[in-house]
């Protein structure tokens, strides 16, 4: 299925990509991120990252559906 992936802040700088549409068999954001780490090695250097699907915070094991927009957030640092 086709999924739109968006990278933010440090993730965007590591990948050099803001938005990309990928063809994936991953069932969850965790699997999708794993695929991304194979293409963009630097992504492995983060933990405590967060994920959102279609502008709602999601879990790493949430289910993906065709056409979803998945947002990968590196560790946040507001305040």
């Amino acid at each position: 299925m086709k999924i739109c992936v968006r990278f933010f802040a440090a993730f965007r700088e590591i990948t050099g990509v803001e938005t990309e549409v990928v063809e994936t068999t991953a069932a969850s954001p965790a699997g999708l991120f794993e695929e991304c780490t194979r293409r963009y090695a630097g992504l492995q250097n983060y933990s405590s990252s967060m994920v959102a699907i279609n502008d709602e915070m999601a879990q790493w094991d949430s289910m993906l559906s065709e056409g979803d927009e998945v947002l990968f957030f590196p560790p946040v640092a507001g305040g």
Partner: protein, 156 residues
């Protein structure tokens, strides 16, 4: 005005405080987060906040609503900056008004603590030596991780 806002402009603290004035309240607690000139031994010159606004606004409003419900305060608001900030600029302000001070302090603390770990906001620091770096979150440090140097994988 909304309970939680993102602003690319300097925050007008007096106007912010006036929004929370309430004759039935005897207590007002305000927290200002300032841009500090150092972090982890490095001299900071300025910083930049990247904010994903659609979700930051949603999640910020949720945090405020939670605080009001949990602590029973009369009103609460917060504004977080985006963009480039200079030293001593106000990066974030949280204000809570309440009949009595105890719940106002508690609610204010809750809002800023939750904002730091839940809002999709990222901080890039610019250092005196010319380097720049994205700063990791408080939750990382609490979990014993090193800023920017962790090698753990994404949690499953």
């Amino acid at each position: 005005m909304n309970a939680f806002e993102i602003s690319s402009q300097m925050i007008d603290l007096e106007a912010f405080r006036r929004r929370l004035l309430n004759r039935s309240c005897g207590a007002y607690v305000q927290f200002d987060g300032w841009v500090r000139d150092h972090n982890e031994g490095r001299q900071v010159l300025r910083l930049e906040y990247e904010v994903y606004e659609p979700l930051a606004l949603k999640e910020g409003s949720r945090i405020i609503a939670e605080a009001k419900q949990r602590f029973g305060v009369s009103n609460a608001c917060a504004i977080h900056r985006s963009g480039l900030l200079e030293l001593s600029d106000v990066a974030v302000v949280v204000g809570v008004s309440s009949p009595h001070r105890g719940e106002a302090f508690d609610a204010c603390r809750y809002i800023i603590d939750q904002a730091k770990i839940r809002l999709p906001i990222w901080k890039k620091e610019y250092y005196a030596n010319g380097n720049e770096e994205w700063v990791n979150c408080q939750r990382c440090s609490e979990a014993g991780h090193e800023h920017g140097a962790v090698s753990a994988r994404v949690p499953r």
